[in-house]
Each structure stands twice: as structure tokens, then as C-alpha cells.
């Protein structure tokens, strides 16, 4: 700000040539900014227009969905009929319940298991730390989803096949590497000096963690938990392989996709997107913590 003011005061006493150059520079800057806005808006449209389309289909009457040419909201009647039809279809409400159960168990399990490891990675230098980090990165790079085939065979043998709890175990394995890395970066962002100070004032390490670190990392942990929830909510391959009767919502939609009508499909597609639309908004500031960490 001060530099801008300086420039302005200096500009007042500058020669006409300098003023002209300055004007050109400003114009170029403004032009550049406008260009960036334009590009940003174009990309936003590329993201949003398809969502608008599917939202239009999901939030109107089934008759409008079947109509051709298709209209879009707000030019077609707004109605909850299509969505109600989808939600009342066979297997959808139980699927929804299963999805939420699986996602919640996954969230709790992965945070409980990952938090200590993330803390260890951020606070301790120990022999094997790099090896552990590399192992986590390597696991992160694996298509863990294809492990659902052998897991299905094993679960079948042990008798926990087709069960929301065993699916949650699989999803936890899926989420764990990312969660560990993210939580480690969240802990790293809290200076160790704070903990040290608490211990100087007589806290035990556990108390220092409980009363000083935990409140500070809560938002980061919450963001990571939300992301884990979305990951489990979205996962379809393992869910389809590991369940038959107790399908999660995406698995149910996928399996019935070929025999279902367009209102069902579109309402289902939009319904599954809703958590993303809500949650990404809350965790957008943590995204770089999350995914940037992978490349660090």
C-alpha cells in the first residue's frame, strides 16, 4: 500500500513521458487482471454448467426428465418428485444408511489410527522415520481398490463378507496413508515450543497434548475427517465387490444402473454429489495441506 502511495506521489511530479509509460503499465496490468478473471470464469463455467444440468434433472418432475429437448432450471418446474422417486426406490434408503455407517466408521477408525502416526512423524526423529514415510507414500501410490478381490475372498472365508463393518475396514486401509500424511502436516504446523512451554508450567506430555495441541489441531483433524468421509462415501469399486445385500448407495446405484430409468439415474448422480458440494466448501483451505503434502 505504501509503495503504491509512494508511486502516486512520485507520479504527480514525473514528466509526461514517464506518466505515459506508467499509464501503459497500469493498462497492461488491468488487462492482465481482466484476462485472468475471464479465464477463471470460463473454467468455473466448465465446472458448474454440468452440475447445473444434472441439478436441473434431479430437481424437476420425471416428465421433464424424459422430455426432449431437455430444459434447465429455472425454465422447467422445480419439484422434489424425481428426488423422492429415487429415494423411495428399492435399496436406496438402506443403501444411504449403509453408506453413512461405513463412512462414519471409516472416519473414526482412520483418525484414531492415523493421528498417533502423524504425531510421531511430525514430532520425533527416529530411526526408520524416512522408511516409514516412504512406505506410506508407496502405499498411497498403490491402487488399493484392487485389493478388494483378495479381501473379498478372505472375508468370505472368515465369514464377514457382505457386511458394512468389513467394508469400513477396507475403506480405512484406503484412507489411512493420506490421513497419516495430512495429520502429520497438521501437527507440524503447531510449533513444538507451545507443548514445551506447557510442560515447563507443569503439564505432563499427555496433558500438554490434551490441553494445548489438541484444540489447535482440531480444525485440521476435522477437515481430514470430512475428506475421509467423502472418500468413503464416493468409493464404489470395493463397495460393489465386498457387499451383496448390504450395499452402499453408490454400489446400489451402479448395480441397478442398467435396469433403471433416467430420472432414477440423474437423481442418484446428483444426490451423490451433494456432500462434495457442501464439504469441499468447508475444507477448501485445507486442501493444500492435504494434497500438497503428497508432493512434499
Amino acid at each position: 500500500m505504501t509503495t503504491a502511495l509512494d508511486v502516486q506521489t512520485k507520479m504527480a511530479e514525473a514528466s509526461p513521458e514517464v506518466k505515459a509509460i506508467h499509464r501503459r503499465m497500469l493498462r497492461r496490468q488491468r488487462l492482465g487482471r481482466a484476462l485472468v478473471y475471464l479465464v477463471g470464469i470460463l473454467i468455473s463455467l466448465w465446472v458448474l454448467i454440468p452440475i447445473w444440468f444434472i441439478a436441473s434433472m434431479a430437481l424437476t418432475t420425471p416428465a421433464e426428465v424424459r422430455a426432449y429437448p431437455k430444459g434447465i432450471l429455472p425454465f422447467i418446474p422445480l419439484s422434489t418428485e424425481t428426488m423422492r422417486f429415487f429415494l423411495n426406490s428399492r435399496g436406496i434408503l438402506p443403501g444411504l444408511r449403509n453408506s453413512i455407517t461405513v463412512a462414519l466408521i471409516t472416519l473414526v477408525l482412520s483418525i484414531l489410527i492415523a493421528a498417533p502416526a502423524g504425531y510421531a512423524l511430525s514430532r520425533f526423529l527416529f530411526r526408520g522415520r524416512d522408511a516409514f514415510r516412504l512406505a506410506i507414500l508407496a502405499v498411497r501410490a498403490f491402487p488399493i481398490v484392487v485389493l478388494s478381490i483378495p479381501l473379498a475372498v478372505v472375508f468370505l472365508r472368515v465369514g464377514i463378507y457382505d457386511n458394512v463393518y468389513s467394508l469400513a475396514l477396507m475403506h480405512t486401509a484406503l484412507a489411512l496413508p493420506t490421513t497419516i500424511l495430512v495429520l502429520s502436516s497438521v501437527f507440524s504446523s503447531i510449533p513444538y515450543e507451545l507443548e514445551e512451554a506447557a510442560m515447563v508450567f507443569g503439564c505432563s506430555p499427555a496433558q500438554a497434548f490434551r490441553y494445548v495441541v489438541l484444540p489447535l489441531v482440531m480444525p485440521g483433524i476435522a477437515a481430514s475427517a470430512i475428506f475421509t468421509f467423502v472418500l468413503s462415501w464416493n468409493e464404489v469399486f470395493a463397495a460393489t465387490i465386498l457387499t451383496i445385500q448390504n450395499r452402499t448407495l453408490p454400489a446400489q446405484v451402479l448395480v441397478t444402473l442398467n435396469q433403471s430409468s433416467e430420472p432414477y439415474q440423474f437423481a442418484g448422480g446428483f444426490f451423490m454429489m451433494i456432500p462434495a458440494l457442501i464439504f469441499i466448501f468447508f475444507i477448501r483451505r485445507y486442501l493444500f495441506n492435504m494434497w500438497g503434502q503428497i508432493s512434499k
Partner: protein
């Protein structure tokens, strides 16, 4: 406690970090390492490929030879063997129930011995349904022995202790379940092998003279599944499509992601909204994205609606059919570009945040254009991030699944993950599914190898 900022002061090993990482290590070993090994084993090992034939109808007797699964054999003889205590019935097991009875034999003596269930008509059962009394059945056949033999043990080869007439009343004291064993013979190579096997490994045909080996009792390493996978008519199309999609999607994604990142890094007013909008796709599943783009490309979808509205077409085009595979490819391409660019964008932004502002400002002062700044400063400094994003994206692209199913029903166009699913779900062939899964793992392993190297160079760069 040793902190990262004040390390290496103590010689004594601090166990705290090891205890802290232990749960995650155990968990990953259990749900990542172990299933991975199991998957590989499933892909190359055939359970019950060979059935061992015993020289006598006894599981402890010597092995007379072996025959492969699926072979048709002739049945020469049968025998019932008591099922050992504590063993439950298994699938495919043929059993025979014998009763221990007490009653008068033809000589009027009271005897106690075993006879097959089929010779006794149960007249009375206790409250648990266990038979307690019955009569000997009459045999109507002209050739059969009208008398019923009573054996010393529940075994046709044991001593006959007496015979009973039809309709003799008997007490039923006990019952035993026998597993049938069969003496079979079949051709192995150019010699005939003969031996006893338990019924659960066989499928006996109607007349009890022929049967087929349903399952073996020993496993064998085999390349059969791998060969079958490679010769599967969907394998090469799936591999081709998977690789083609990677080649088509990844470069476009990177261009788009870098543009997105530049927009966000320009730090304009409202860049928070841009970030939110650009990142939405990060939380959307490939199934939902597939449906979303399906609503555009389906015959009565938005693309046709718009074209018709503009008067460019008179009747709706068909895009997603076997005759227009390139349209399916385009639809998948757009859907994946829409969905998975967000991840690359986030990694690239994180990388850009690490580039110092001074460098960029200096370049601007010296009159570098935007293109020059991108080309000569941002891209070279971003290289490590880009490498990591590239490899991560490639590995994720091996798993493309639901989008393809939505766009093509999983038939017209297929990918490796879809074949894994099809083998498991439609064909019920775990081994072939595991072979596909292992193949995807192998491809990813190769990619991950480069990934780890990239990470390492990155850490060197960071230092």
C-alpha cells in the same frame, strides 16, 4: 521427549514414536500387505487342482496316484466311512446314516448292532426329533435279500452279527453319519489310475457308475489364470483403452490444472470462490461424474437438446453406441478431465506456493511476459510437483471404472478395472479377477517405482 527441532541429544532409544506408529503399521500389514500377497497367490495358485487317490478308503492310507480336477472317472465301488468327531458336513459330501438298533434276530435272540437307515422305518422319535424306535423295512424286490443284516460296526465291511426279519420292532440306540467313499479310476497320462476318494470331491452322475472330479485336495502353482487373462477376448481391448485414456487424459489435465493454479495464484479478489469451484470435483465420485456426463451425451441429453435448440440438427444423434466408440471415448475423456483435474490443480498450487514471490517479481521487473515466466521459471521450479502429480494421476487412471460402466454399460468399451469387476462379479472367477488385479498392481508398481524416485529427487531439491 525428543523434538524434531532439538534432536539427537540422547543415546537411549526412545520407544514412543514406535508405539505411536505401531497401530498404523499393523493395520496396513493386515489390510494392505497381507491381501496383496493373497491376491498374488490367488492369481498364480490353483486351489484343489489335483485330487490324490488313496489306496484304501481311508484318509491316512497311502496315495495311489492323482487325477486333475474336471476329469471324468468311472466308479467301481463304494463304502461308507464314519465322519470323525467334531467334523461338520461339507459341501458336496454324500452321506449315509446308520442306526444302532436292538431287537430280535431270526433266531429269536436279542442282538445289538448297526444297520443303514434305509433298512429301518422310524416309528417314534423323542422331543428333539431323534428316532428312538422303529421297525425293519420289508424288501419288496425279488432279487434282494429279504433279511436285513446287522453289523458289528457302522461299516458294511465289518462282521455281520445277525439278521432280522422284516417288520421286527427295534429300539434305536444311536446313529452315525458316514461319508461315502468311492473307488474310482481314470486316465492320467497314458496309464490308468485307480483309488479311493471321499464323495465331497466328486460329482456323481445319476447311475452311480460315472462321475467327475469336482475339486482336488492339493493346490498347484499355475500360469493358467494368467494365460487365460491374456487370452481373454476383453484383455487387450481393456488394456488398450486404459492406456489410451491415460495418454489422452493426463496431458490435457496438466494444461488445465496449471491454468487453474495460475488463476488461483494470481490472488485476485474472489480467488477463494475460484478455489472452491475448481475443487468441487475433488469430492465427486467417478460414478456421479459418469452419470453427470451421461446426462449430456445420452440420446435425449443436453448436447442434442442444445444442438437442436440452435437448429444445427433435426433429430437427436446417438453418441453412446457401439458404432460411435469415439464419442464414448470423448465422453469418458471429458468426464475424467472434469473430475480428476482438481487433484492435479491442488498439487500444482501447493508446489507454486513454494516458489518465492521475489523470483517472480524480479522476472516481472525485467519485463518477462506471462508465458516467459511460466515457461522459464514456474514450470522448471514446479517439475518435482508435476512429476509426483503425473505419477499419482497415472496410477489413479488405472482404476478408471464407474465412468466407463456408465458410458458404455461396461461392454462396448472396457478397461482393466472393469474386467476385474466383471470376472469377480459376473463370471464368479476369483482367480481370474485376482489375475487382473495383480496386473493392475504390477502396472502401478512400475509407475510407483518412478514415483518414489521422483519423491527422492524432490527431497534432494528441497534440501
Amino acid at each position: 521427549m525428543t523434538s524434531a527441532s532439538a534432536p539427537k541429544s540422547r543415546k537411549k532409544i526412545n520407544w514412543a514414536p514406535y508405539l505411536l506408529i505401531l497401530p498404523s503399521l499393523l493395520y496396513l500389514a493386515l489390510f494392505f500387505g497381507w491381501p496383496m500377497v493373497q491376491g498374488l497367490i490367488l492369481a498364480i495358485r490353483e486351489e484343489g487342482a489335483v485330487l490324490g487317490l488313496r489306496s484304501e478308503a481311508d484318509r491316512n492310507s497311502t496315495i495311489a496316484g492323482s487325477l486333475p480336477r474336471g476329469m471324468q472317472v468311472s466308479i467301481l465301488n463304494r463304502q461308507g466311512n464314519p465322519i470323525p468327531q467334531g467334523e461338520t458336513l461339507q459341501g458336496g459330501q454324500l452321506t449315509e446314516i446308520w442306526y444302532k438298533v436292538r431287537g430280535q434276530d431270526i433266531e429269536g435272540q436279542l442282538i445289538e448292532g448297526w444297520t443303514p437307515e434305509r433298512r429301518i422305518r422310524v416309528r417314534e422319535s423323542d422331543e428333539n426329533g431323534v428316532p428312538v424306535a422303529g421297525t425293519v423295512r420289508s424288501i419288496l424286490s425279488a432279487t434282494a435279500d429279504p433279511l436285513t443284516r446287522i453289523y458289528f460296526q457302522a461299516d458294511e465291511s465289518s462282521e455281520v452279527i445277525g439278521q432280522m426279519e422284516a417288520r421286527t420292532a427295534v429300539e434305536i440306540l444311536d446313529q452315525a453319519t458316514l461319508e461315502l467313499w468311492f473307488l474310482i479310476s481314470g486316465d492320467s497320462g497314458n496309464q490308468t489310475v485307480e483309488g479311493w476318494v471321499p464323495s465331497r470331491y466328486l460329482n456323481i452322475f445319476e447311475d452311480e457308475t460315472q462321475g467327475r472330479i469336482e475339486e482336488g485336495d492339493t493346490s498347484q502353482f499355475t500360469t493358467r489364470y494368467l494365460e487365460r487373462m491374456v487370452n481373454d477376448r476383453f484383455f487387450w481391448p481393456a488394456l488398450r483403452t486404459t492406456l489410451l485414456l491415460i495418454v489422452l487424459i493426463v496431458p490435457a489435465q496438466f494444461v488445465l490444472a496449471i491454468i487453474m493454479a495460475l488463476v488461483i495464484q494470481a490472488d485476485l479478489k474472489g480467488s477463494g470462490i475460484f478455489l472452491y469451484v475448481f475443487a468441487i470435483a475433488l469430492g465427486v465420485s467417478d460414478l456421479a461424474v459418469g452419470i453427470l456426463w451421461y446426462s449430456i451425451f445420452t440420446q435425449s441429453g443436453y448436447l442434442n437438446s442444445i444442438l437442436q435448440g440452435l437448429g444445427l440438427i433435426n433429430s437427436p444423434n446417438i453418441y453412446l453406441s457401439a458404432d460411435t466408440r469415439y464419442w464414448i471415448l470423448i465422453a469418458i475423456w471429458l468426464a475424467e478431465l472434469w473430475r480428476a483435474t482438481a487433484i492435479v490443480m491442488v498439487i500444482v498450487v501447493a508446489g507454486m506456493q513454494a516458489i518465492s514471490r521475489e523470483v517472480l517479481e524480479a522476472a516481472e521487473v525485467f519485463g518477462a511476459t506471462l508465458w516467459q515466466r511460466v515457461r522459464y521459471i514456474i514450470l522448471p521450479l514446479l517439475r518435482p510437483s508435476l512429476q509426483v502429480a503425473l505419477i499419482l494421476r497415472t496410477i489413479l487412471a488405472f482404476q478408471v471404472f464407474a465412468v466407463v460402466i456408465v458410458m458404455s454399460g461396461g461392454d462396448i468399451m472396457t478397461v482393466l478395472a472393469n474386467e476385474t469387476y466383471r470376472q469377480y462379479y459376473d463370471q464368479r472367477n476369483n482367480n481370474l479377477a485376482a489375475a487382473y488385479a495383480s496386473f493392475i498392481l504390477l502396472l502401478s508398481l512400475i509407475t510407483a517405482f518412478f514415483y518414489l524416485r521422483a519423491v527422492r529427487t524432490q527431497e534432494e531439491v528441497a534440501e
